[in-house]
């Protein structure tokens, strides 16, 4: 079977997701300006420990090999270690590998030792600037030092190769080489992903997303680094610039990817927390499996998608029209070009969208004390 037909098969959906993100809580001690889930305050409806374990049991039965745990800040949950341990070392059967994303605040020397003692666990520490000035402008005062301290603690505890996860913005594009050096200095792996206009990111995307010139810079850097840098396949819209980047080159939403949010709602991907992309809830009868296999939304996403306005563009096979979430939250049609279309096909449409009319998620867990610069739009 050729790589192309594998992609076609994957577009038709799998029996269970390959890459499932589970956000354990909307609570977060930080208030990053691009937070894709607008996290801050805990939601009173969040899954209980018992419910969460039931979800893990079901994922195990579906043979989901590993999950990405995020938030919010997942380590805020008091049962964080209990749940991770239950995933990895279940009372019966195979464990589920866990990769969790954290801002690092709660990885003190004790937590680092505890984490280092666990198998099948990956840790991803978020860092959006190579220095405190760049990072803290996005992630908040003190967040750079906290992330670095967590990395130091993990290294001291001999955790092994953790991951440093960078959201590429207009302000850190020039630091990519430095991030790589930092990761190498820890024996860590660098992961860079695309900024999406999701959650609070909708408010800041216009100021933070890389310029067209910088997109080429990212593309060339990724081509040069090849497989040594992880990307979560998130830059496939850049493939229109030339040789395809490593990865599956497709939108995995509802096909190989999905999100379980802290209250158990299932969305097509982590970047589309919005009613329109909600497939159901793990609390529904039939649980997660039924949502994954039978929800109208997911079945629709697994149908062949129309190239729409991109049909006549020679780059469509390369870029697949880009990211559904990026289009949706910038107010663009889903069957048209990505807002960051490298051929500039979206520029006119983007200019014509009234920002006030772009879709907004009904969920916002941001804490009240938001900086004035971010509250108005």
């Amino acid at each position: 079977m050729s790589a192309q037909s594998l992609v076609e098969q994957l577009k038709g959906g799998l029996d269970a997701p390959i890459c499932l993100t589970w956000e354990l809580t909307y609570a977060c001690n930080l208030q990053c300006v691009h937070c894709l889930s607008s996290s801050g305050r805990r939601d009173p409806r969040e899954l209980t420990t018992v419910e969460a374990k039931r979800v893990l049991d079901e994922l195990r039965e579906l043979q989901v090999f590993y999950i990405n745990i995020g938030g919010g800040e997942p380590m805020v949950r008091r049962d964080f270690f209990e749940l991770v341990d239950y995933a990895i070392n279940p009372p019966t059967g195979d464990g589920i590998g866990v990769k969790f994303s954290t801002n690092g605040t709660y990885i003190d020397t004790n937590a680092a030792r505890r984490l280092a003692a666990m198998d099948y666990l990956d840790i991803q520490i978020s860092l959006d600037g190579i220095d405190a000035v760049t990072n803290d402008a996005v992630r908040g005062t003190g967040s750079f030092d906290m992330a670095r301290r967590a990395m130091d603690n993990l290294a001291a505890a001999k955790f092994g190769p953790f991951k440093i996860s960078v959201v590429v913005t207009r302000h850190n594009v020039d630091q990519l080489d430095h991030f790589k050096c930092l990761a190498d200095s820890y024996g860590a792996q660098l992961r860079v992903t695309r900024l999406r206009p999701s959650g609070r990111g909708a408010d800041t995307w216009h100021d933070l997303h890389p310029t067209n010139l910088q997109q080429r810079q990212i593309y060339e850097w990724l081509v040069a680094k090849g497989d040594s840098v992880l990307t979560g396949d998130s830059f496939f819209h850049l493939n229109a610039l030339g040789t395809p980047l490593p990865g599956l080159n497709m939108c995995g939403a509802g096909r190989v990817v999905c999100l379980i949010d802290p209250i158990g709602d299932v969305y097509a991907c982590p970047f589309v927390i919005h009613e329109q992309f909600k497939a159901g809830s793990v609390r529904d009868r039939g649980g997660f499996g039924r949502v994954w296999k039978h929800s109208d939304l997911f079945l629709e996403l697994r149908q062949p998608q129309s190239a729409g306005a991109c049909a006549s563009c020679g780059s469509y096979d390369a870029c697949q029209g880009g990211c559904m979430a990026a289009k949706f939250f910038t107010g663009l049609p889903l069957d048209g070009p990505d807002p960051e279309c490298v051929n500039g096909e979206a520029d006119a449409a983007l200019g014509a969208v009234h920002v006030e009319l772009t879709p907004r998620s009904s969920l916002d867990h941001s804490r009240a004390a938001r900086s004035p610069a971010l509250s108005g739009r």
């Binding site: 079977m1 098969q9 799998l14 029996d15 043979q63 090999f65 590993y66 195979d94 590998g97």
Partner: protein, 97 residues
């Protein structure tokens, strides 16, 4: 040394790595190695069937025979299993008592 040369692979007793889980999929199966955390797409149902049969046969060729794979296809299976061996999804079975 767990990895085996392609040439002799047909005569080698193989097994799925104990840290590997297989999940059936419409196109074949997904293989996940919990140790290396690598995910491998097994894109041929016959390859999956043979992989599952490895443990109960004395060699790859014995497993191929048991699964009813025509001998003319064995070279391509040897190649597929060499690649699975390379990515540590299958390995040489340790000789036991």
């Amino acid at each position: 040394m767990r990895r085996v040369l392609n040439l002799s692979l047909l005569d080698t007793p193989l097994q799925l790595d104990p840290q590997v889980a297989l999940r059936p999929e419409p196109f074949g199966a997904l293989a996940y190695h919990y140790g290396t955390r690598r995910l491998v797409f097994m894109k041929d149902r016959d390859v999956v069937a043979v992989a599952r049969a490895l443990d109960s046969h004395s060699s790859l060729s014995a497993a191929l025979q048991a699964c009813g794979v025509a001998e003319s296809r064995w070279p391509s299976f040897a190649k597929a299993f060499a690649s699975l061996n390379e990515s540590e999804i299958v390995r040489e079975r340790p000789i036991t008592g």
